[in-house]
C-alpha cells in the first residue's frame, strides 16, 4: 500500500518536471503546445546516446541532456514557434501535432523503433527497506531530484526579478509589455528552460516510463491532463495535479489493471466539467 503511494509520488514528481514547462507556455502565451513530449523524448534519447554509446557517467549525462534539450527548445522557439503565437488555437494544434509526427518518424528512422533503456549505475539499483516499505533507490533519487527542482522553481518564481517579470507577463501580458518588460525575451528563456526540464524529465523517466519513438504521443495526454486539471496560473496547481495523477495512475494499474487508463480519463473529464479552468486555478478575469 505505502509502496504504491511511494511509487505514485515518484511518478507524479516526474510528470511534474515533464509538464511544468508546458504549463508556463500555455499560461503565458495561451499557446497549446502538443509537441512538448517531443522535447522530453529528445532528452531521453540524448541520455541514451551519451550514457550507453559514448559511456559518459549517468550523473553527467543528465545535465547535458537538460542543456541540449533547452538549446533545441530555444532554437525551435526562435525559428518556428514565434510565428504561430498570434494564430488561433486550431493552427497551433495543427502545427504542434505536425511537429510530433515529424519527431516520431525522425527518431524511428535514426534510432529504430524498439524500446531503449538507459544504463543506470549499479549504486542506484535495488531497494531500501524502511519500516517494511520497499523503496526503489532509483525512485528515491527521482523524488529527491524533482523535489529539489520544484523548490528551486518556486523560489525562482517567487523571489527573483525574472520570476516576478514572468508572473507579471502571465497575469496580464499587455500591461506587462506596457511596463517595459520584454515579454518575448522572457518567453523565449522560459520556453527553452521548460523544454530543458522536459528533456531532463525524459532522461530521468526513461527507466520508468519507457522510451520509444511513440513517446510524445503516448504521454501527450498525460501532460495535458496535468496542465488542464492543475490550471496554468501557478506552479502549485500543476504540481498537486501531477502528484494526484501519478498516485491515481499507479494505484489504478495495481488494483484494476484491466481498466487501465479509463479511470484517469474519466476523472479528467469529471474535473473539467466541474471546474473548466482547472482544479486549483484562481478565478481569472480573462
Amino acid at each position: 500500500m505505502l509502496t504504491i503511494l511511494f511509487d505514485g509520488v515518484a511518478y507524479g514528481m516526474l510528470l511534474f518536471v515533464l509538464a511544468c514547462g508546458l504549463s508556463v507556455t500555455l499560461g503565458l502565451m495561451n499557446f497549446i503546445n502538443l509537441a512538448h513530449g517531443a522535447f522530453a523524448m529528445a532528452g531521453g534519447y540524448c541520455t541514451v546516446i551519451l550514457v550507453n554509446r559514448i559511456g559518459i557517467p549517468f550523473a553527467l549525462g543528465l545535465p547535458i541532456a537538460f542543456l541540449v534539450t533547452a538549446l533545441i527548445g530555444g532554437l525551435f522557439e526562435r525559428t518556428l514557434y514565434v510565428h504561430v503565437y498570434a494564430r488561433d488555437h486550431l493552427d497551433q494544434v495543427l502545427f504542434t501535432i505536425g511537429l510530433v509526427f515529424m519527431s516520431v518518424a525522425a527518431v524511428d528512422y535514426t534510432m529504430g523503433s524498439s524500446q531503449q533503456f538507459v544504463q543506470i549505475p549499479e549504486a542506484l539499483q535495488g531497494q531500501f527497506n524502511v519500516f517494511g516499505v520497499g523503496m526503489g533507490k532509483y525512485r528515491l533519487l527521482i523524488i529527491v531530484v524533482c523535489g529539489l527542482l520544484t523548490v528551486s522553481l518556486q523560489l525562482i518564481l517567487a523571489k527573483t526579478r525574472f520570476g516576478s517579470r514572468l508572473r507579471a507577463a502571465v497575469d496580464d501580458q499587455r500591461v506587462a509589455r506596457g511596463l517595459g518588460i520584454n515579454v518575448g525575451a522572457v518567453f523565449a528563456v522560459t520556453f527553452a528552460f521548460g523544454s530543458g526540464l522536459a528533456g531532463l524529465g525524459g532522461a530521468l523517466g526513461a527507466e520508468i516510463l519507457g522510451l520509444d519513438p511513440t513517446f510524445p504521443l503516448k504521454y501527450m495526454i498525460y501532460f495535458l491532463i496535468v496542465v488542464t486539471v492543475g490550471g496554468t496560473s501557478s506552479i502549485t496547481g500543476p504540481f498537486l495535479a501531477s502528484i494526484l495523477l501519478g498516485i491515481a495512475d499507479v494505484a489504478g494499474k495495481y488494483y484494476v489493471p484491466k481498466l487501465g487508463a479509463f479511470v484517469i480519463y474519466a476523472i479528467m473529464i469529471a474535473v473539467l466539467i466541474w471546474r473548466p479552468q482547472g482544479l486549483f486555478a484562481r478565478a481569472t478575469a480573462r
Binding site: H89, D91, F95, I97, G98, F101, L224, F262
Partner: protein, 357 residues
C-alpha cells in the same frame, strides 16, 4: 447583411429580399454539379482504383462531419474518432450476430447510435475554452478505446473484431474484394449525406450557426439559442461521423481498436485543413488530396510517411491557412467567372435549385 438600412423601408420588402438572397445562395452552382458528375464518373473511369477511392469516400464523409462542427460552429475537436469507432463496432457486432442483416438499415442504425453518443457528450463541449474542449473530446474517444480494449471478449480487443459477415446489399450486391460494389455504395451514401448536410447548412439554422461561430455573445443577444444550436449540430455531426465509421466496417468486414486512436482524429484535422473549412467541399477535396498524397508517399517510404505528413502540417500552418484559402478563392472565382460566361445563367441554374427557402 444590410438589415439596418432596409428597416427604414416597409417591412415586407426586406423579408422578401432576405429570402431571395438565401435562395440564391443555396442554388447548386455549375461547379458543384460538375464535381458530382465527375465523382460518379470515376466509377467507370478508374475501375482499378476502386479500393483507394472507396477509402477516400469514407474519409471525405468523416471530414464532412468535422467540417460541420469546426467550420460552421467553431468547435475544435480531437474526438471525432469516438463516434466513428463506436458506430464502426456497432455495425460490426450487429452484422456478426445477425441482428440486422440489411446493410443500409444497419448503417442508419449505427448513425443513430453515434448521434445518441454525440447528444450525450455535446453537453461536455459547451463549457470551457478551446483547450478544455480538446481535452474532453479526446478524453471521450480514448475512454471508448479503453472500454473496447477491456471487453475484448466482445470486441476482439487488440486483434480486432473478426468473423464479421456482411450480407449482400439489398439482398443482391455482395461486397467484393476489389471494392467495386463497396465504392458505389460509399459514394452514394456520401452523396446522400452531403445533400442533407448542404440543406442544413444553407437553412436559417445553418446561418444561425455561422452567427454563433462569429460571436456567441451577440448571437445570443439577437435571440439565437446558442446552447441548443450547438447541441443540435454536434449531434448531427456525430451521426455522420458514425455513418462513416459503419461504412468502413461494412466494406472491410473488419474493425480494430485503432478506429479510436488519436492519429485518426489528427489526420482528419489535416484532411480538413488541406481542403479548407466552412464551405463543405473542403473535406471532400482534402480527402482526395490526402489519400493520394499518402498513397504516393507510402510508396516512396513505407515506414516514414508520417514524417512527411507532419511536414505538410507544419508548412501549411507557417504559410498560413488564410493565404491558401485566398489562392483557392482566386482560382475558384476565376473558374466560376469563366463558367458563367460560357453558360447562359437561366439554363444552368434554373433546374437545379432545391425546393423551398
Amino acid at each position: 447583411m444590410t438589415v439596418n438600412t432596409l428597416n427604414a423601408k416597409n417591412l415586407a420588402a426586406p423579408a422578401a429580399n432576405v429570402s431571395a438572397y438565401l435562395k440564391s445562395r443555396a442554388r447548386w452552382s455549375p461547379f458543384e454539379i460538375a464535381f458530382w458528375v465527375f465523382a460518379f464518373a470515376t466509377i467507370w473511369l478508374f475501375p482499378g482504383k476502386h479500393l483507394i477511392l472507396k477509402d477516400t469516400a469514407i474519409l471525405a464523409l468523416f471530414a464532412l462531419s468535422l467540417d460541420l462542427i469546426l467550420g460552421y460552429a467553431g468547435i475544435i475537436s480531437l474526438g471525432q474518432a469516438a463516434f466513428f469507432g463506436l458506430a464502426g463496432y456497432f455495425a460490426g457486432l450487429v452484422a456478426k450476430y445477425g441482428i440486422v442483416n440489411e446493410p443500409v438499415v444497419a448503417l442508419v442504425l449505427s448513425g443513430v447510435v453515434a448521434a445518441a453518443l454525440g447528444f450525450a457528450t455535446s453537453f461536455l463541449v459547451l463549457r470551457g475554452s478551446d483547450l478544455t474542449r480538446l481535452m474532453v473530446t479526446l478524453g471521450v474517444s480514448l475512454m471508448l478505446g479503453e472500454v473496447a480494449n477491456r471487453y475484448s471478449n466482445i470486441t476482439g480487443g487488440a486483434d480486432g473484431l473478426q468473423g464479421v459477415d456482411i450480407e449482400p446489399l439489398f439482398g443482391r450486391f455482395r461486397f467484393d474484394l476489389y471494392g467495386h460494389n463497396g465504392y458505389v455504395y460509399c459514394l452514394s451514401v456520401l452523396f446522400v449525406c452531403f445533400v442533407i448536410v448542404r440543406r442544413i447548412v444553407y437553412s436559417p439554422f445553418g446561418l444561425s450557426l455561422r452567427a454563433v461561430k462569429g460571436n456567441p455573445l451577440r448571437a445570443a443577444a439577437i435571440g439565437i439559442p446558442v446552447k441548443w444550436r450547438l447541441v443540435a449540430i454536434y449531434t448531427v455531426s456525430a451521426g455522420i461521423a458514425g455513418i462513416a465509421g459503419a461504412l468502413l466496417t461494412q466494406t472491410t468486414a473488419f474493425c480494430s481498436l485503432d478506429v479510436f486512436s488519436l492519429e485518426r482524429s489528427a489526420d482528419l484535422l489535416l484532411v480538413l485543413i488541406i481542403g479548407g473549412t466552412g464551405y463543405l467541399y473542403g473535406g471532400l477535396i482534402g480527402a482526395v488530396i490526402y489519400k493520394f498524397l499518402q498513397d504516393w508517399i507510402a510508396n516512396l517510404t513505407p515506414q516514414y510517411w508520417q514524417f512527411w505528413i507532419g511536414l505538410v502540417l507544419v508548412v501549411l500552418v507557417l504559410i498560413g491557412r488564410d493565404r491558401m484559402r485566398n489562392w483557392i478563392g482566386t482560382v475558384r472565382g476565376a473558374v466560376a467567372g469563366v463558367g458563367v460566361r460560357l453558360l447562359p445563367r437561366s439554363i444552368t441554374l434554373g433546374g437545379a435549385a432545391p425546393d423551398g427557402p
